[in-house]
């Protein structure tokens, strides 16, 4: 799975720490999600969707291996 969280975060001018505080996780978790090292739960994905005000599919995308 790939994601565009870094881009969406830049659009809203949020740091990793700001985004982490908004959805109640640590900054390292945001960093891991952005680097595709961690796939977040549906709950976290929906929290991100609420922050970015976009559907989850707009910033998470399946790749061939998934």
């Amino acid at each position: 799975m790939t994601n565009r969280i870094k881009v969406e975060r830049a659009i809203l001018d949020l740091t990793q720490d700001d985004l982490a505080k908004k959805i109640g996780v640590s900054r390292q978790t945001i960093n891991s999600i952005e680097a595709n090292r961690y796939v977040p739960s549906t709950v976290l994905a929906l929290k991100l969707s609420a922050v970015f005000q976009k559907p989850v599919n707009d910033f998470f995308e399946l790749i061939e291996d998934d």
Binding site: Q28, T29, S32, R37, S41
Partner: protein, 149 residues
């Protein structure tokens, strides 16, 4: 109580047990108990004489309790990723612990026979040794996984 509500009740209870964690402040308490126990073990070994078997047993229990408290204490920033890493570390610790308990008696037996000419009997590991090893592996893997996340 019908079947569905009984299953639901059981599921909730299981979830509560699985997600049980102590507050972060307990981490320091766990470290203190473990440290005191280690100091007591060294103190007993090098500075005390006479019948101090009770202190050895107390220090062993203290070390296990301290490490268990450290293991189940929440992080400063606990989230779903740290939960995930914690579960991975428990899985690894369990598997390695079982392998250790199976293999280590033969390693001990082999080494003791090489070192001493008189043959020693094959002895199983004690519960303290296995539990201590599993807790050490869990804590080590958890912190390594967290560092590399």
């Amino acid at each position: 109580m019908n079947k569905e509500s009984f299953i639901e009740c059981e599921r909730k209870r299981l979830n509560k047990i699985v997600s049980f964690r102590l507050p972060h402040s307990f981490m320091k308490i766990g470290i203190a108990i473990a440290a005191i126990s280690i100091v007591a073990m060294f103190g007993r070994a090098f500075f005390m004489e006479g019948d101090t078997e009770w202190l050895k047993e107390l220090a062993k229990k203290g070390l296990l309790i301290g490490m268990l408290i450290m293991s189940v204490s929440k992080d400063k920033e606990e989230d779903e990723m740290t939960n995930n890493l914690r579960m991975q570390s428990y899985t690894i610790a369990f598997v390695i612990g079982v392998v250790y308990a199976l293999v280590m008696p033969y390693v001990d037996y082999g080494v003791s026979n090489v070192m001493k000419p008189e043959a020693e009997t094959l002895k199983d590991l004690g519960d303290f040794q296995v539990l201590l090893f599993m807790l050490m592996i869990q804590l080590m893997f958890y912190h390594t996984l967290k560092r590399n996340r």
